[in-house]
């Protein structure tokens, strides 16, 4: 059984695929199939591509013309709606336009006037959609699938590998991971969860035997203005950053559910988020604004160095 590794760039980040396979030809097929699937989803949903379905939907905003969607898109919209419901409206597929006001590279806070101009264009409840079509009622309204497509792509790639008969694989799309570990002989994958302030260091090590691991953090992009930190997780109602957790990782049978759960937690005020994660019923790890760890995976960070060697062995072969 040989180990294969393949790195490529997609969905705005580094993607890595690792798997065990005894057959070189099958391995080659698997590499190509996974990359093709990830690129398919990127082309379909990226808002950076003018020919994507997302761009098509956004261009039709306010025109009165509904855009036809397929079953996959309808299900993705349905999932986004569930996130909206479960987060009490804090996760909103239409909130992405706030980035027009917030430029995290500029070092400048947006004006309230600029934010107030954008707020009327936000509101999932205004979106008209069903299983076959979608229409954004106001000109300038936009949707952005960025919050769930990468996680979905990880799961889809893992499903594809399992379907090809590959029994042990790890798909890592810029931190959103899904694994295949089938059969009695398949060993789990050991993966590290990044430290929020020191990205090269792991805060905990997790053994994945099935499903996925997704992480979201407020540490990657932020503004520091007059000693105050403004994170990039924005409240769709006010247009201003949420004062919540710094980082959340969730382990779930699907990377998509893990990612959705981590996103909801990050959108909530700190205490509420910790309670929500505690009641969710999934293994989780959260780092609060004081960089204190919480959650059922937090104790694994204690013996980090011992786990680290296991991980080296598990990951490099």
């Amino acid at each position: 059984m040989a180990g294969f590794e393949h790195c490529f760039k997609a969905m705005g980040g580094p993607c890595r695929l690792r798997f065990d396979c005894a057959d070189e030809a099958l391995a080659q097929r698997a590499l190509e199939a996974v990359e093709a699937e990830v690129l398919r989803l990127e082309h379909k949903y990226s808002r950076y591509r003018a020919d994507s379905l997302t761009s098509q939907i956004n261009r039709a905003a306010g025109t009165g013309a509904a855009v036809a969607i397929d079953q996959e898109t309808a299900a993705l919209l349905g999932f986004a709606e569930t996130l909206w419901e479960q987060s009490g409206g804090m996760f909103d597929l239409t909130a992405g336009i706030l980035r027009r006001a917030w430029d995290f590279k500029s070092g400048q806070l947006p004006t309230q006037t600029r934010i107030d101009e954008l707020l009327p264009l936000i509101g999932w409840q205004r979106v008209q959609w069903d299983q076959h079509s979608i229409h954004l009622p106001l000109r300038g309204m936009e949707i952005d699938f960025g919050g769930c497509v990468k996680e979905y792509a990880s799961d889809s790639a893992a499903t594809l590998l399992a379907g090809l008969g590959i029994e042990r694989a790890l798909v890592d799309l810029a931190g959103d991971m899904a694994v295949v570990a089938e059969g009695a002989a398949a060993r789990p994958w050991t993966v590290g969860i990044r430290h929020p302030s020191q990205p090269e260091q792991a805060i905990a090590w997790v053994q994945l035997t099935r499903g996925g691991l997704a992480s979201s953090g407020d540490y990657a992009r932020c503004l520091l203005v007059e000693g105050r930190r403004y994170g990039h997780i924005l409240n769709p109602a006010s247009g201003w950053p949420v004062q919540g957790l710094s980082a959340v990782s969730v382990l779930a049978p699907q990377c998509l559910v893990a990612g959705g759960s981590a996103t909801i937690a990050l959108l909530k005020p700190e205490a509420e988020a910790l309670q929500w994660l505690g009641e969710l019923g999934l293994p989780w790890l959260a780092v609060d604004s004081q960089l204190v760890c919480h959650g059922s995976l937090a104790d694994t960070s204690a013996n980090m160095s011992a786990r680290h060697s296991i991980s080296q062995e598990g990951n490099t072969e």
């Binding site: 419901e85 499903t159 019923g281």
Partner: protein, 386 residues
Amino acid sequence: MSRRGSDKSSALLALTSSALLLPAYQGARADAPPEFMEAGMRYSKYEEDNTQGKKTFGGSSQRYDIDAAQFHLLAPVADNWAFALDVQWEDMSGASPWFVGESASGEPKVIMSGASIEDTRTEVSVTTRYYYDRGNAGVNYVRSDEDDYDSNALALDGAFNSSDGLTTYGGALSFSADDIEPTQGSVPTNTLKNDKDISSAWIGVSRIISTRSLLRFGLSFTYRDGFLTDPYKLNDNRPDERKEWTISTGYRHFFDAPNAALHADYRYFDDDWGVGSHTLDLAWYQNLGDLTQLIPYARYYSQGQADFFGNLVDLSDRYYSQDYRLSSFGAITVGLRLRQELGNWVVNLSGERYRTDESWGVYNGDESPALVDYWRYSFGLDYIFR
């Protein structure tokens, strides 16, 4: 700390159930041919209990034994095609009920065909199947040869998935032309040479109703035309036409905690000979780890007799039959199947017991003294070329 196990929150249930509607979580995103070639052999033994002495008049009380060997090959041909070959050899021996007579006390007793019948049957079945994005379609040809019976059958079938991938519609048509030429032995036969045609149509729909369950429903119609009388039974004269209808429904449910699936199926059958039947099947697919599956199953069957069935028949009637298979009875089958994967090998073992009794049925009628009980065992070995 997080709560685990069955104590899942409503938030998690909501997230999971809406996520699982995405195509990546629904197994096959499009119908696809098998990934690898598969070959297998199976041996089965079917053993009827001897007819109880008190129910027979002399002759042999030994009933049928069938030994069957099967070979199976399934191969992907191209991206969208698969090919299957099935060959079956059967060796039958024993005696079968010839007619039913009346004892001095007025009891119906079965008279068995005296000498042992020996017959072999060879069946070859070839299927090609085409897979497309939203379904698949197949063509199947079957030829069966016996000393006294030849059959050629052609079947077409297709399945089509709805755009949300949750509903599958299916349909099938089949035609069979059979030639009957009874071997002439110790008992006189009803015909020297004859034939019959069978045409059949089926439509069905199945729907995934949740991430753990599936419901299906089907309707079929079969038309038989030609020599439908049993050539080896003394008092047998049947109409030369038979129209049959069935309605079937089935439910599958997967249970997480025991890691098992329940399969429940029901079928109602009715025809223009007056025969009706109910069949209820229950099976429990218990996974034991990733490689082992243990499947206990049970079937209940109840049949109402044909209008012209009688233990003692009036030969001046237009139609008559003493065949126990057209009588009223109830039957229970209980079986156990084991499926074990060993690398690229799959071993299948099964054993079942079938028992029948007139009083177990829901229909009224006279008990045929020729009702049969049997045992069946099989052993199979498959290999996947991967």
